[in-house]
């Protein structure tokens, strides 16, 4: 039998980037802006984190730079979909193209034609949280992690509080549900949406950074490889609620690590590894079809806001 600590540990490891990106997506979509650009925002985060960490030798600076880059990359999405009222899905798809193209282009430019960065010399390390990490089983698995994971925990908690216990959160939700109502209540819908999309850029990029300077150690074309889309799935699966999103992301992380680690315990003798690899996706489909059913998106998500519109 696999030991539970290891399994949970690796599940959390895998879900960290998903949690960050999906919570990022939550801000954006709660404000009414679809964010299919999570993939691109993660890419730009992973890229910036790797490059800046290589340059400065300090992963914290890398992480901060990634979050700034994420905000910058989110701005075109905001401008196109909020100010210019472009189709938000379309604009998101464009951002995905843009992020991948730009980052690989820059990598090639900076590293003499190479398709990926050199290995990042100074990575984040796993640090045990005093006391908490000594709790049996879950201690070492939840609290002996990368700083990005702790950031993810923090982000979930803060988001939950912000969303439901602060004026800002209430306004954010109102903007995503009924922007005209918010506008007549004196809330600047456009501004709220810009802020939300920018937050989503910063968080998704932080998730991406985790891939290149915490669990991974380089940036290349395939560093993010679809995790942004999985985050989006986690967001929908988690019903746009911070705790739901956390659960969904952990679920994905858990099934990915199950498939991977299963090999070490000889499961692949019985089940081919590809079949194990399919597990998370099959489980998700079953879950969606079976118990989760419809998830209600914020009412105004995907609709450009027209001032005075009906």
């Amino acid at each position: 039998m696999p030991d539970l600590t290891a399994l949970i540990h690796s599940a959390v490891l895998y879900s960290t980037p998903l949690i960050l990106a999906a919570i990022g997506g939550l801000y954006s979509e709660r404000s009414g802006v679809v964010n299919i650009a999570l993939e691109g925002l993660m890419i730009i985060g992973a890229f910036t984190a790797a490059v800046i960490t290589i340059l400065t030798g300090n992963p914290w600076i890398g992480l901060a730079a990634a979050m700034i880059a994420g905000v910058l990359m989110a701005i075109p999405h905001a401008v196109a979909s909020i100010t210019f009222k472009a189709d938000q899905v379309v604009s998101g798809v464009a951002i995905n193209f843009l992020a991948l193209g730009l980052s690989v282009y820059l990598v090639k430019y900076m590293y003499e034609g190479a398709g990926k960065t050199p290995t990042v010399p100074e990575l984040f390390h796993q640090v045990p949280v005093p006391l908490l990490s000594e709790i049996p089983v879950i201690g070492p698995s939840l609290f002996n992690q990368f700083p990005t994971t702790y950031l993810a925990y923090l982000v979930v908690i803060v988001t939950y509080i912000v969303l439901y216990y602060t004026p800002f959160g209430m306004r954010l939700r109102s903007v995503g549900e009924h922007p005209s109502a918010a506008e007549t209540a004196g809330i600047n819908v456009i501004q709220m949406r810009y802020i939300a999309v920018m937050i989503s850029g910063a968080l998704a990029a932080a998730g991406g950074a985790g891939l290149s300077i915490a669990i991974g150690s380089e940036f290349g074309q395939t560093t993010v490889s679809g995790q942004g889309f999985i985050s989006l799935a986690a967001l929908i699966f988690g019903k746009w609620h911070p705790l739901g999103v956390l659960g969904a992301a952990l679920f994905f992380g858990f099934s990915v690590s199950l498939a991977l680690i299963g090999q070490i315990y000889g499961w692949t003798q019985v089940v081919p590894s590809e079949v194990l690899s399919m597990l998370p996706y099959v489980l998700t489909l079953l879950a969606l079809a079976g118990f989760v059913g419809r998830s209600e998106a914020p009412a105004a998500v995907g609709k450009p806001y027209e001032k005075g519109g009906r």
Binding site: P2, K108, A114, T222, T268, S273
Partner: protein, 327 residues
């Protein structure tokens, strides 16, 4: 502007006089810290030592192999390399189309049907891996060692089987945990696998997984020195974790590319044949840095096995079948 240093000098294109060689990477790209990169080292040496006009093309998708090879062929390059077993299916196709051009492929023997204008270079990775197995088997304190593979294929299987045979030969009690990442570039997976293996009592891990292997080194670096070890592949990877790397299995793709191209230049092209390079030919071998952490007696044992293999006294298995009959 900074672009591939090898490309700078030859922007004029291939003029008719100079001897020219082209190399097409697989989707791993030129700086894969693996065989594409090593092959390019060989090409650069050709340029420096023999003044060969060299150039590479990266492939974005598998569908790019044919146009990339054709492009070099139409340029009239004297030899065109397809680096990696992914070229297995396309090389014969293009070779047929451009009957006058010469091609080389690394890591595949094209199933034995090698066209007359193609040379196929393969390596006896299982022999080198056997020695890694000997080192791992001798160094383990827990009698548990690990192997991390990239995408499972007959090629990577050669590494695995050779390694297991080596472990068995050196330490029959040791158990080998095997896992495949099913990827050559997902560093995170490599790290997860390594972490779990180490947590399960494995203390030496060998990988044949390209970029995935970096995850192994990232993980081992964070662990207690002198207790947890990693073994690298393709080139000397000890720089990735100097205090934790026992050894690396070297695969001299650069030498192969260099030598074969040189032969073509000297009009000694041996088309239609497979060139298989093993321990005997120095096509595979042990990293020099091995002596840093591996004690004298183990090195001696390794050397003994190496000689036996070279002499043919030991036939290292390269498939599961052969492994079963390996004593």
């Amino acid at each position: 502007a900074g672009c591939g240093s090898g490309q700078q000098g030859d922007q004029q294109g291939a003029d008719q006089e100079a001897f020219s060689a082209g190399m097409v990477t697989d989707t791993g790209g030129i700086n894969d810290e693996s065989f594409n990169q090593t092959a390019w080292e060989g090409m650069k040496r050709l340029k420096e030592e023999l003044g060969v006009d060299v150039k590479y093309l990266e492939s974005k998708r598998d569908a790019d192999y044919v146009p990339n090879l054709s492009r070099f062929a139409r340029e009239g390059r004297d030899i065109i390399w397809g680096i990696g077993f992914k070229f297995e299916n396309v090389i014969p196709q293009v070779a047929k189309q451009f009957g006058d051009a010469k091609f080389g492929i690394v890591d595949s023997n094209l199933g034995g049907n090698i066209p007359p204008n193609v040379v196929a270079v393969t390596f006896k990775e299982h022999e080198g891996s056997f020695l890694m197995g000997v080192i791992a088997g001798s160094m383990t304190k827990t009698d548990k060692v690990g192997f991390i593979g990239g995408i499972s294929s007959p090629l990577i299987k050669k590494f695995e089987v050779g390694f297991r045979a080596g472990v068995k030969a050196a330490n029959p009690d040791a158990e080998v945990k095997v896992a495949y990442a099913e990827s050559f570039d997902d560093v995170a997976k490599g790290r997860s696998l390594a972490q779990n293996m180490y947590n399960n009592g494995v203390d030496v891990i060998y990988h044949a997984a390209g970029g995935v292997g970096k995850g192994l080194f990232n993980e081992v670096k964070t662990r207690e020195k002198g207790k947890y070890w990693a073994i690298g592949v393709d080139m000397d990877q000890s720089s990735l974790a100097p205090d934790h790397t026992l050894s690396s299995m070297i695969k001299r793709v650069d030498v192969a590319v260099f030598e074969v191209t040189k032969q073509v230049k000297e009009n000694k092209f041996q088309g239609g044949k497979e060139v298989e390079l093993g321990l005997k030919d120095d096509g595979v071998g042990i990293a020099e840095t091995t002596s840093k952490h591996v004690p004298e007696d183990v090195l001696k044992k390794v050397e003994e096995f190496k000689q036996k293999i070279i002499k043919g006294e030991i036939k290292v298995p390269s498939t599961e079948e052969e492994f079963k009959s390996f004593q």
